[in-house]
């Protein structure tokens, strides 16, 4: 990220949102809302003297709200650019930061700013979010956490500086249960496999086991899906390290109100016994969902989505990088659930795909386009309303003009025209009538 930020040809707009996209490959016009951080980016040097004086603490989003940050603070330690922003909805406007800032960078009058960019090609890489449903008492029982929260807890720069502590009493849990496939591989919730969670459970359970060898870790799974290079070996090493893997589905989970321990009931596959177990912490591996940003960018750019809500690629097997719109490419989990190495491969593929037309400076497309006829046109202009790409306009003499680049050759205008004045190259009405006549011979 830092390297990208320092690259002379890369401009990173953080704390910004794409609000509108028009145009076509080579000539996209993109409107970006640069949200106001109330700190002048060119003046701030990130010294943090404003953070020191700020009296307000708010939940730290980066730490999954497990720790607190100041109202004026850096998003996280390695954030790029390393400058502060003010969460205005929580600010009490004491202006202590204004006095503390030697650079006079704090500007409470800053407004959101819409900037317009001329863009050649677009790569959408808006990622995924975690399913946060109430399964297994998540959100009700304090010691039921998800993998990302555990990631933060065991991170050296996290809320507990890397010491494993459970949320209820900040003591180290010895008996930990991992539950895989929470809200995923479930036809009533999210039918897909989220791909990464098996390995995520392996990684985190193994980390805990090696740091605290007296831990007792049980992992309940439906199937361990450790496909891919080195993953099966990783799974084997976890089993050798003493982590217990049980095939089954957890049926019930209850909290002991005094100790806040969790009493878990499950039936291991292949046995008739029902296991009742008391554990000190439960870690869920929830489904991956299209991120808020993915949902939003699909709406803004009018992008096609797969039934699962992830962005639709040109072809699921043969071209998972392009979209149906020339010049727009996909990378990472915005397109579907995937592991890091696949996301990296796809990102490099997307960068190369975008580089081809950019380097050539030209793009070849099939000219299946709407062709209006001025003589037949009755000027009802129904086609203008019907066109999903706003490709049809009217010139001074009232005749139709089709923008041959905006037009994608869907033929909706040809179907709706009452006077048959607009037709589609290679897909003409007369051709269709001939096809129908040939397919359905009279008297056959």
């Amino acid at each position: 990220m830092l390297e990208a930020n320092r690259h002379p040809n890369i401009e990173i707009l953080t704390y910004s949102e794409v609000v509108n996209v028009n145009g076509y490959i080579g000539n996209f016009e993109v409107e970006v809302n640069r949200k106001s951080r109330y700190v002048n980016e060119s003046k701030c040097i990130g010294c943090g003297s404003c953070t020191d004086v700020c009296p307000i603490y708010i939940p730290n989003y980066f730490d999954e709200n497990l720790s607190a940050r100041k109202c004026i603070d850096i998003a996280f330690a390695q954030a790029v650019p390393a400058i502060q922003d003010i969460a205005r909805e929580s600010c009490v406007e004491c202006f202590g930061c204004v006095d503390a800032c030697e650079q006079q960078a704090i500007d409470f009058s800053q407004q959101d700013e819409i900037i317009e960019l001329q863009i050649g090609t677009i790569i959408v890489a808006t990622g995924w979010d975690l399913y946060k449903g109430p399964d297994y008492g998540y959100g009700t029982y304090e010691n039921v956490i998800n993998q990302i929260e555990l990631e933060r807890i065991i991170a050296p720069n996290g809320p507990t500086y890397g010491h494993l502590k459970r949320p209820s009493d900040r003591k180290r849990p010895k008996k930990i249960l991992f539950i895989n496939c929470v809200g995923s591989r479930d036809v009533n919730k999210n039918p897909w496999c989220s791909v990464v969670c098996c390995n995520l459970s392996l990684k985190n359970s193994k980390l805990i086991q090696s740091e605290y060898p007296d831990s007792e870790i049980v992992c309940v799974y439906i199937d361990m899906r450790c496909a891919g290079k080195d993953y099966e070996e990783y799974y084997r090493r976890s089993r050798d390290a003493g982590i217990i893997f049980v095939k089954g589905l957890v049926g019930k989970i209850e909290e002991d109100p005094e100790t806040k321990n969790l009493i878990v009931q499950f039936e291991p596959v292949g046995t008739d016994s029902l296991v009742n177990m008391e554990v000190e912490m439960v870690v869920l591996s929830p489904a991956s969902l299209p991120s808020e940003g993915t949902v939003e960018i699909a709406r803004v750019m009018n992008m096609e989505k797969s039934p699962d809500g992830f962005l639709k690629e040109y072809h699921a097997r043969l071209d998972p990088i392009s979209t149906k719109v020339p010049g727009i490419y996909l990378a990472g989990s915005a397109q579907g659930q995937k592991t890091i190495e696949l996301a990296v491969s796809q990102a490099k593929g997307a960068a190369s795909s975008a580089g081809i037309p950019m380097g050539k400076g030209e793009y070849t497309m099939e000219l299946i386009r709407a062709t209006p006829s001025d003589e037949r046109c009755a000027k009802c202009y129904k086609c203008i309303e019907a066109c999903p790409y706003n490709a049809i306009s009217v010139n001074e003499s009232g005749n139709l003009v089709v923008d041959i680049i905006l037009c994608r050759g869907c033929g909706t205008c040809a179907a709706i025209c009452p006077s048959k004045a607009i037709d589609l190259t290679n897909f003409k009405d007369i051709q269709y009538m001939a096809i129908i006549d040939e397919l359905l011979p009279i008297g056959a």
Binding site: G411, A414, I416, L424, I436, D437, L439, P441, A444
Partner: protein, 44 residues
């Protein structure tokens, strides 16, 4: 898609490829009925 999942369909079905379902006008549908088709299925 039908091919990928090995779906079977009767041999009496005739398919006409369109660039987009929006291309299909009522005149095209009426023509098929006029030529004796029992039904038209528009699949997108």
């Amino acid at each position: 898609m039908a091919g990928t999942i090995r779906a079977q369909y009767p041999a009496s079905i005739r398919t006409v490829l369109v660039p987009c379902t929006g291309r299909i006008g009522s005149d095209m549908v009426m023509r098929t009925f006029g030529r004796g088709a029992d039904g038209v299925m528009i699949v997108g």
